[in-house]
């Protein structure tokens, strides 16, 4: 079986699981919404202020929501030892990892698709002119988040205090991604929106570095 096909099967399994339970998405969206609302109490969200702080608030909300959402990705395979069953399948460990990364990417993207319009309304930002470019930034940023996050979800799954450990491991690693994503988003929120290509390239570079590392290390990550 090719890696792509095996990854697609894992992806389908993750999506089916989420479609039946529908707990992860709801919780993530509401959690991110809580952060956005709380930030609006910390900063007065007038249009001028929201142009300055908005991109940072948005990405911090995604990072926090993502670092909590990614935890069950491997943790829920622990309770019935289903990860052992997955490992026994004659597919490369990277296929399992890739399937989970794609599933997490879809979950987080759906959450973002709900959150960004709500954010634009609450913080009085007009995003219709920059929607296409904003989606590009969101996709590249979210990819970096789920690539590292899914790997660390597998790392934290074997540790005690894993719910606390995952954000601790993940958030500092994402510091460069946060800077790049915030700066790229800020260039779109400005009075004259112009996408900063340097930051976009940086995001793509981040994704490539850590996807390659995940691919090289997946055998060790998922070994018994």
């Amino acid at each position: 079986m090719t890696t792509a096909r095996a990854a697609a099967i894992v992806l389908a399994k993750e999506l089916r699981l989420e479609f039946r339970a529908r707990e992860l998405l709801t919780t993530t969206v509401v959690f991110a919404l809580v952060i956005v609302v709380l930030f609006s109490f910390a900063f007065d969200p007038t249009a001028g202020e929201s142009r300055r702080y908005g991109p940072g608030l948005l990405w911090i909300a995604f990072l926090f929501a993502g670092s909590l959402m990614l935890n069950p990705s491997f943790a829920r395979e622990q309770s019935n030892q289903t990860l052992d069953a997955l490992r026994m399948a004659p597919v490369s460990p990277f296929a399992i990892l890739l399937g989970k990364m794609l599933a997490n990417f879809i979950f987080l993207s759906v959450a973002e698709a709900i959150l960004v319009p709500v954010f634009a309304v609450l913080y009085n930002l007009s995003l219709s002119d920059v929607a296409g470019r904003l989606i590009l930034v969101l996709v590249l940023g979210t990819l970096g988040l789920v690539i590292t996050g899914t790997v660390f979800s597998a790392v934290a799954a074997h540790a005690r205090l894993r719910e606390l450990l995952l954000p601790l491991l993940l958030l500092p690693i994402l510091a460069p991604l946060l800077i790049a994503a915030v700066e790229a988003t800020a260039s779109l929120f400005a009075e004259q929106p112009a996408l900063d290509r340097a930051w976009l390239a940086f995001l793509a570079g981040f994704d490539i570095v850590f996807l390659t590392a995940s691919w090289l290390l997946s055998d060790y990550l998922l070994e018994e």
């Binding site: 540790a159 205090l161 500092p172 690693i173 510091a175 700066e183 070994e223």
Partner: protein
């Protein structure tokens, strides 16, 4: 053991001499005066940190490839040492920053990178503390260590693109870089002195980890023997 004692005495003499050179031999700096003398150890700490974290990266890869526990011991020893020298570098930097720049801290690329590195490698040590099984602990922490090491240049590049205040390197900056020749000579003593002390600590920490590992192995053997002895009477009863 005798050789080891001799090396320790030598290292102590070297670091003492380095302290003397930094305080009394090095010339007075034109604008910053006495506080600039912290620089001789500030640079030494950073040299030790970057070396320790590079060794940690090699050790992490070494463990994954060879599965020889020596690499795991070296990995944890060098990360701990990296965190210690990073802490020393940050503290000397903060002490120097206040009189020289007028502020304790600034979010400059190099400062930010070191701070993020400090957090990352402290997380590495926390991660190790939270995984029971030795093999798994070694593998998962090695993977995290490799990710952290790969992240360091990205953190630096992103902050470099964003903002910068730290002075550009004066050392190795060519003939007219502004470094007094005597200052250069003092650096040639202090940096190796700090490195020698750090290497000694690294070797000791490595030995300690080795002893811990051996103790754990012995305990496991003892437990197995104990449980085997306990199961005997049950067998006879049934």
């Amino acid at each position: 053991m005798k050789g080891r004692a001799a090396i320790t005495v030598l290292a102590a003499a070297l670091i003492f001499f380095a302290g003397y050179a930094a305080l009394f031999v090095a010339p007075d700096e034109a604008t910053m005066h006495e506080i600039q003398r912290v620089f001789y150890f500030h640079l030494g700490s950073w040299a030790a940190m970057y070396s320790a974290l590079s060794v940690a990266f090699i050790a992490n890869v070494g463990w994954l490839v060879t599965r020889n526990p020596h690499w795991d011991w070296l990995g944890v020893a060098s990360v701990e040492l990296g965190v210690v020298s990073c802490t020393a570098g940050l503290i000397t930097g903060v002490l120097w920053g206040k009189p020289a720049w007028g502020i304790w801290w600034t979010w400059d690329p190099r400062l930010t990178t070191c701070f993020i590195l400090w957090i990352l490698y402290v997380s590495y040590l926390i991660l190790r503390g939270l995984i029971e099984e030795p093999q798994r602990r070694a593998t998962l922490s090695a993977i995290f260590g490799i990710f952290a090491f790969l992240d360091a240049p990205l953190v630096y590049a992103s902050n470099r693109l964003w903002r910068g205040q730290h002075p550009s390197p004066v050392i190795l900056g060519g003939d007219n870089s502004g470094l007094d020749p005597t200052m250069g000579k003092v650096l040639l003593i202090t940096v190796p002195a700090v490195m020698v002390v750090m290497i000694l600590v690294l070797v000791d920490r490595y030995r300690l980890e080795k002893l811990r590992y051996e103790l754990e192995e012995l305990r496991l053997v003892e437990e197995e023997r104990g449980s085997a002895a306990n199961s005997m009477p049950i067998k006879e009863l049934s």
